[in-house]
């Protein structure tokens, strides 16, 4: 225990420790912000001309506005036309007068007019979004119409009964919350394995956590350079001393690990504060396991090197490989399907899965965590063996 603490104190005094401590969090927040900023800049500008000015047309507009990937502006038809001709907007949607009343009668067609430029990329998407919004609205309206007519039949009431209509309408609209259709998990009749693969394909990785995983791995790797530097100087003498090399290695590794664990905790708190990741303690637990994994792999790389220069090179390229295949920067599996299977074996999958599922019991999470733990357990004896071998 004494060595662990001495080493820790020794590390805390070195500026490079602080650099490596701050690097993952600073880089992931910095690049993460850049990354997400670019994402919002990549939206498609569209214009809505609201001739109806009703609550229903407003609901459609709000629905479109809530779509990421679109920038929705409202303006009169003349201005919209001008913008379209100047190529400043992708397409123009005109919500015709009497949109609400027609809709509530159950009529769907010809209520929205669409102008597109020849180079339009968004028309298809927007048409879909608008259509789904209209279907929502018309379905609710139809349901409300039916409820009112049933009510009138039953109680032989001939009044307006608009409050009943509204209640039925609101109730039906509520059934679409929070998001219609897209979040329903389809289970197509097939074996279980394929099912989970389908889910894996849609894992969304927060860019912050993805970047953190890369920079943390790199930081842990570089942090392991002591094993290269001490190899020919300190290690022989350690072997001759009472404590022995395995104990020294594990205590030094523990001191380094603790610092990286604090780093992970710090990063987690910052991410939560910035509200850029989903998930709670499960995500942090997986981050901690990831740090352990990276530290041990870093040591493994270190004991197979005799010079610091080549070690740093290997460290960087290994971290990059892990990041690319593991999906730290972008979901690798979605680019090439053959990488998909490979990608699932990388530890980043555990982070992404933890963020999406937020349950340790989810197979995607614990399988990955288990795999990392297994690699750690296999690597450790290899590290001890290799570190001591060179003198034989």
């Amino acid at each position: 225990m004494g060595i662990y603490y001495e080493k820790w104190k020794q590390l805390m005094r070195k500026p490079v420790t602080w650099l490596l401590f701050l690097m993952p969090i600073a880089a992931s927040v910095g690049f993460g912000m850049l990354f997400t900023k670019q994402q919002t800049e990549l939206t498609i500008p569209i214009v809505i001309v609201d001739e109806d000015q009703s609550s229903t047309s407003d609901a459609v507009i709000q629905g479109l506005k809530s779509q990421t990937g679109l920038t929705v502006k409202e303006m009169p038809a003349s201005a919209a036309k001008k913008q379209l001709l100047q190529g400043e907007v992708d397409s123009v949607f005109i919500i015709k007068k009497h949109f609400q009343t027609e809709l509530r009668k159950g009529k769907r067609d010809g209520l929205i007019e669409l102008w597109t430029s020849p180079s339009s990329v968004a028309a298809g998407i927007v048409r879909e979004i608008a259509a789904s919004e209209i279907i929502k609205q018309t379905s609710a309206a139809k349901a409300a119409n039916k409820v009112v007519s049933l009510y009138k039949q039953k109680y032989e009431d001939q009044g307006e009964r608009s409050e009943i209509w509204q209640q039925a309408y609101d109730y039906t609209m509520d059934q679409w919350q929070p998001e219609p259709l897209m979040t329903i998990q389809y289970k197509i009749g097939s074996d279980k394995r394929q099912d989970t693969n389908k889910e894996k394909a849609t894992l969304l990785f927060s860019p912050y956590l993805g970047l953190w995983s890369f920079f943390t791995m790199l930081s842990c790797f570089i942090f392991s350079d002591w094993a290269v530097k001490e190899r020919w100087t300190i290690f022989p003498r350690i072997r001759a001393s009472s404590i022995g090399l395995p104990a020294y290695l594990s205590q030094c590794a523990a001191a380094h690990l603790i610092i990286q664990l604090i780093q992970a905790g710090f990063a987690f708190v910052v991410f939560r504060y910035l509200n850029v990741i989903n998930g709670g303690i499960v995500v942090f637990s997986v981050m901690a396991v990831f740090v352990l994994f990276s530290t041990v792999i870093g040591l493994l790389l270190a004991v197979f090197h005799t010079h610091a220069g080549p070690f740093y090179l290997t460290a960087l390229s290994t971290a990059l490989l892990f990041a690319l295949f593991g999906g730290s920067f972008f979901p690798a599996g979605e680019l090439f399907s053959f990488i998909q299977k490979l990608s699932e074996m990388f530890p980043q999958t555990a982070l992404a899965a933890a963020e999406n599922k937020d349950r340790l019991t989810d197979p995607l999470v614990w399988e990955s965590v288990f795999a990392m733990a297994a690699v750690v357990l296999i690597s450790w004896p290899l590290i001890v063996w290799k570190a001591g071998r060179e003198y034989d």
Binding site: K14, T233, I234, P236, R237, R239, A240, S241, G244, D392
Partner: protein, 250 residues
């Protein structure tokens, strides 16, 4: 105290040492000499349990070093040929850190006194990277003495140390021997060989050409028809001889 029998060491199938037979008694300062690459450091690192022998046996204080490594290590103080210190730490931090590696714990004051004993004065709070080469050697030596080891294995501990300090360190080593420590001392320094060592061994190509006192060496040389006017010449002849055609004659 130290009993070495038919010890051999191979590096990648190439024999670098042995067969070596040697006995070193308690209180002796055994000088290990020989040309560069003779295998001196290799022999010492095996004795220090840093590398393991390819064949043969080493018994220290009745314990086999390969079978009872854990029990042997506390007995050994090893000064490796390459300086084994943390450059970015101070003298004090180095001493404290190495002090943690041993079973018998020492107070900070005792550690500071040890630095004084190896003539490292006034550098307690200095970073090792700022020390001169000789000062680093002194600290390198001090570290091996922290746990009061019974056996000292010193691989060129005084290289680059100024004459005055070397003289004092030699005195210290002699005192340690008088106190009953067993010392194996690798050196290329003619004065240390003649003044400090009680017995010497000449290693060449991994085998001993000679083991014994300088007086014995002189007598043997005469038997072989060499004349040596002084101890320096004895050593000169010992090292010059190439006995590789036959088993060592003495």
């Amino acid at each position: 105290m130290i009993n070495i029998s038919r010890l051999e060491k191979f590096y990648r199938k190439k024999k670098r040492l042995g067969p070596v037979n040697l006995h070193v008694d308690k209180g002796e300062i055994f000088g290990l000499l020989g040309p560069n690459g003779a295998g001196k450091s290799t022999l010492l690192s095996i004795l220090a349990t840093v590398s393991s022998p390819s064949a043969g046996k080493v018994i220290m204080k009745g314990k086999d070093i390969t079978e009872e490594t854990k029990a042997v290590r506390p007995l050994i103080g090893y000064v490796p040929q390459d300086i084994a210190l943390w450059e970015e730490m101070t003298v004090k931090e180095n001493m404290l850190f190495w002090g943690k590696m041993v079973k018998r714990k020492k107070s900070e004051e005792q550690l500071e006194n040890l630095c004084q004993a190896v003539q490292l004065h006034g550098k307690w709070d200095e970073k090792v990277s700022r020390l001169s080469g000789g000062m680093k050697r002194k600290l390198n030596l001090a570290v091996s003495l922290i746990h009061d080891p019974e056996i000292l294995l010193l691989d060129e501990p005084t290289v680059g140390i100024d004459l005055q300090s070397k003289f004092e360190i030699n005195e210290l080593i002699q005192k340690l021997a008088r106190d009953g420590k067993t010392i194996i001392y690798i050196t290329h320094d003619i004065n240390e060989i003649t003044q400090l060592c009680t017995r010497i061994g000449v290693l060449k190509n991994g085998i001993f050409l000679f083991t014994g006192t300088l007086a014995e060496a002189g007598a043997r040389l005469q038997q072989h028809g060499y004349t040596a006017k002084n101890e320096t010449e004895i050593i000169f002849h010992l090292l010059k001889q190439d006995y590789s055609d036959h088993e060592p004659t003495f």
